[in-house]
Symmetry: C2
Subunit: 110 residues, 2 copies
């Protein structure tokens, strides 16, 4: 037996950020493009873009810096604020599984 | 902003126990009947019974003591083992939200 956990952030009672959205932002940043990230994550550009806008609106924070045009077309990378937010999210999130499992094993004598 | 968490127990990579199943077992025990518990939880008797059998099979544990017939019809209550398991589940589960929120507030400076 082992314990599993799912963690997310809410604002005003609405889910605003979790692992899926973290991965989306990180993929956009890594590939430098919402379009390429959407393709890699098998979602439509429209959906990916809508997710980013929703997160930014709910958090009241600009997460992506987008550039239009240029020789290679537009691009998108994380803002400093977005990078800081993701860094904190990971610090918060990454230890949780371990924490939950330690507690589980202690209480269930495993 | 606040953090939310969902916690469950797996065995051999399959989900076996969480808040929904804990509530089902507790409702059966409180009402002394799978049938009444199913009605209160708005599920079919068949589904409730199937859930109990599934949990017992996956945990390798007899959780409910059922009695057939008698003047008031059959009844069901938790076995000592079932009661012990639920008690541990609550000890494990009930502090997690607080733990997760403390961590969240510390990391996000809230």
């Amino acid at each position: 037996m082992n314990a599993k956990s799912k963690i997310w952030i809410e604002k005003d009672g609405k889910p605003v950020f979790g692992d899926g959205r973290a991965t989306l932002l990180e993929t956009i940043d890594r590939l430098g493009s919402i379009n390429k990230a959407a393709r890699e994550m098998k979602m439509s550009y429209r959906h990916a873009w809508g997710e980013v806008k929703l997160i930014e609106k709910r958090l009241g924070m600009k997460l992506l810096k987008t550039q239009v045009g240029g020789r290679k077309g537009g691009g998108a990378i994380l803002t400093a604020e977005g990078r800081e937010f993701l860094e904190r999210y990971h610090r918060f999130r990454d230890g949780i599984n371990e924490l939950v499992n330690e507690r589980f094993e202690k209480i269930f004598d495993l």
